[in-house]
């Protein structure tokens, strides 16, 4: 930044928060009483094309029930969580929000999400247990309706695997062998990279291995970030980085795009939404990639973790929680709504019946060479193991970026980085006043 007067970010933020607090005089009233007259709801989401899907509602069931929904387009992921929390502090959160599964405990612990068990509890059967459980946080309440999921898979350059005589790895051991074999055949190429700038992938890999990062016992939280399963994952990747079998540079950089586009990196562990990312990062390699299940820790296992995925939640600030919950269930269980979501938003639905619906008979355009892409994806999605999120996922994720970023750069001990992550997370919980089980 050039040398000039610079507004102090925090002061500004505080000023904004203060202004918002001042405006918050009009609180929210409890709902429950019979609605009279039309209702209009605001919905914060980042899914592209959501306005078109909402149009279906406003012209169809919404018109009948006199519930109009307005979409306000937002930034994705963590940025939106911050925004929701700030708005909630002012009592001004919208009626409906999109939230990633791992953000739900944070939002719930700030009392931002309403329990919609009575309105939405009966759609439980439409979703896989592991997915639904993420919206209840292991309690009796229901805090959101699942929208999309991101089961992890193995993406690879089919042509280059053939060229270098590589087989698609079935186990992580084979994965390591494949990486070494490629290094030997083409020293300037990498099978993939260990990226420290997106914690979600590592969380998904740990989940597959059986890591359970946040659990509860009684009124205490238990943090298991450095449990044996996660340690195994950290050691595995740390070893590969240390011996130089895989790259250590972050994802989503111009350099990474180029590496994918030119075949310098020939595989990517990613979720079902990868085709969208690949088509912008590596447009020249369209039709050359293939998708396979994630390698397993032992040959007789068949499990995967998830990376991302989100839900639709109703906020405690909403004055029409029943109406909002009705829209949320329609959006994520109605066949028309889901095929529109798939078409306009490119999401992979959490609803199990929708995964096999007409919208998913043809593969994504980028994977036109793999006709059974979605059939395979549905099979893989079924093997997703439950995840275990806690109230300070954001802290653990930040700690991951810093600790693993440094470890990847220095090619040093990944388990030490994992311990740092564990310590940071526990310290933050304690600081906030949570009881933490040893």
């Amino acid at each position: 930044m050039p040398y000039t007067k610079r507004r102090r970010l925090v002061t500004t933020a505080v000023a904004v928060a203060l202004g918002a607090t001042a405006l918050a005089a009009c609180g929210s009233s409890d709902d429950g009483e019979a609605r009279s007259g039309p209702v209009s709801l605001t919905y914060w989401t980042w899914t592209p094309g959501m306005d078109k899907v909402v149009d279906l509602w406003n012209k169809g069931p919404g018109k009948k029930e006199q519930i109009t929904v307005t979409v306000k387009k937002q930034a994705s992921g963590d940025t939106l969580v911050t925004k929701i929390l700030t708005a909630h502090k002012a009592g001004q959160a919208p009626d409906l929000v999109q939230a990633e599964y791992q953000a739900l405990p944070t939002l719930v612990s700030n009392d931002a999400l309403a329990d919609i068990k009575d309105e939405a509890g009966d759609v439980k059967g439409k979703f896989a247990d592991g997915v639904w459980q993420q919206t209840t946080l292991g309690t009796d309440a229901v805090y959101a309706v699942p929208q999309d999921i991101g089961p992890l898979m193995f993406y690879y350059r089919e042509d280059l695997f053939e060229k270098y005589g590589l087989d698609v790895p079935q186990t992580w051991e084979e994965f390591a062998e494949t990486a070494r074999k490629l290094k030997k055949a083409a020293p300037d190429k990498d099978l993939t990279t260990f990226s420290a700038n997106d914690s979600g992938l590592f969380a998904g890999l740990a989940q597959q291995a059986g890591g359970r990062w946040w659990t509860t016992s009684g009124q205490k939280w238990k943090v298991g970030i450095n449990d044996d399963a996660t340690k195994k994952v950290a050691e595995f990747w740390g070893g590969l980085v240390e011996e130089g079998a895989v790259d250590n540079q972050p994802m989503y950089t111009p350099a990474w795009n180029k590496a994918l586009n030119t075949g310098k990196q020939i595989a990517w562990i990613s979720a079902v939404w990868a085709p969208g990312t690949l088509s912008t990062a590596a447009p020249d390699t369209k039709g050359k990639w293939a998708m396979a299940p994630l390698p397993q820790w032992s040959a007789d296992e068949n499990r995967t973790g998830s990376w991302g995925g989100s839900s639709t939640a109703v906020t405690t600030d909403s004055e029409h929680k029943d109406a909002a919950a009705r829209f949320a269930t329609w959006l994520n269980t109605d066949a028309d709504a889901l095929s529109a979501l798939a078409k306009e938003g490119g999401i992979y639905p959490a609803s199990t019946s929708a995964q096999l619906s007409g919208a998913f008979t043809n593969p994504p355009e980028y994977f036109s060479n793999q006709p059974d892409f979605y059939a395979k994806a549905a099979e893989i999605a079924e093997t997703t193991v439950p995840s275990a999120w806690g109230p300070n996922v954001n802290v653990a994720y930040t700690s991951f970026k810093d600790a693993f970023g440094a470890a990847a750069k220095n090619k040093s001990d990944f388990t030490a980085a994992l311990d740092t992550m564990q310590d940071d997370t526990v310290a933050d919980l304690k600081k906030q006043g949570f009881e933490v089980a040893p």
Binding site: M1, P2, Y3, T11, P254, A255, T316, G405, Q432
Partner: protein, 326 residues
């Protein structure tokens, strides 16, 4: 004529304050007007400056307290924390390390940037200079580019796989240093600031040079001073106040460093989320959601900035006075 003194009285006599003001009206009315004029500014200052700062201070003495699992309504309350946030911030090695990193960066960027700015200003101010307006504009131009854009632009140039520089180095068979790692990272960051900030500082110094009366130069020339001597013995001492000013600005900007490392962060593992003190504040406020810790750290940073910059200004002023006395 004389019969109607009340009507024919000179205009304003008696009643008008500027004719013959009585003691009472002078006391009662005159001082009110300035306050009235100052009111809008004072109000805005209060609303958008003093109040937020006060609120930040208030927040810095509070903390969130969670009961049980922290799920559901009423599980999270705000309680008085006393100085806890401050002691945490002061004992937080990451904040201190961030300050040290910024200090290291400042040790490179401030001397280089101001040195270059002074050099360019002197060269532009030299007697025989061609294309002065164009050159001045060219040096100043990077300042017009927003900091985030500049950092992104340089970020691309630093990444070996996409940078044209590395392509050329590769073709020439020269070594290709990784600029986004370890020590070179400081150079890479400084380079962005120097590139963006030199022009601004140059203009400040150049403007001061232009204000020096020509007679001074004439006198020096008559005494047989060379252009170099004029530059060293006359120009530089005479623009010293501008140098102090630009140094002052640069130090503050360095302490508030945020844009460049934040923009470069996604490109490399070397920049952590808490690389500079302000990044740590940002991270705590918006990454961790702990506005109380962030408020305490922001207060400390503001205090440190205040002490450092005004300490420097006082020292500079004292020197000036001593020299004037001599």
């Amino acid at each position: 004529m004389t019969g109607t003194p009340a009507r024919r009285r000179p205009y304003g006599a008696g009643a008008a304050p500027y004719a013959r003001p009585s003691a009472a009206t002078a006391r009662g009315r005159a001082p009110r007007a300035p306050y009235f004029f100052v009111l809008p500014a004072a109000l805005l200052f209060l609303l958008f400056f003093a109040l937020p700062i006060g609120y930040a201070l208030w927040l810095s003495f509070r903390k969130a307290k969670v009961s049980g699992l922290g799920l559901g309504a009423g599980a999270r309350t705000e309680v008085w924390a006393g100085l806890e946030n401050y002691t945490d911030a002061l004992s937080d090695s990451e904040l201190l390390n961030g300050a040290l990193r910024v200090l290291g960066y400042g040790c490179i960027v401030v001397p280089v940037m101001l040195g270059l700015a002074l050099l360019f200003a002197l060269m532009l101010d030299a007697e025989k200079v061609r294309f002065a307006p164009v050159t001045r504009l060219a040096i100043f131009l990077p300042y017009a580019i927003p900091g985030v854009v500049a950092a992104l632009l340089w970020g691309f140039l630093y990444l070996p796989d996409v940078s044209p520089f590395y392509f050329v180095l590769d073709r020439l068979g020269l070594p290709q240093p990784d600029l986004l790692d370890g020590g070179p990272l400081y150079l890479a960051l400084s380079n962005i600031a120097v590139w963006g900030g030199t022009g601004f500082n140059m203009i400040v110094i150049y403007t001061a040079l232009q204000a020096i009366p020509v007679e001074v130069y004439e006198a020096a020339k008559l005494d047989g001073a060379t252009p170099l001597q004029i530059a060293l013995r006359i120009k530089i001492p005479m623009v010293a106040p501008s140098l102090v000013l630009t140094f002052f600005f640069s130090v503050i900007a360095t302490l508030q460093m945020f844009n460049e490392p934040t923009t470069l962060k996604p490109l490399t593992n070397s920049v952590s989320t808490t690389w500079s003190p302000l990044m740590k504040v940002y991270q705590d406020a918006f990454g961790k959601g702990d506005i109380h810790a962030a408020a305490a750290q922001a207060t400390l940073i503001a205090l440190a900035t205040l002490v450092l910059s005004f300490g420097f200004l006082r020292a500079a002023n004292r020197r000036n006075k001593q020299e004037a006395a001599r």
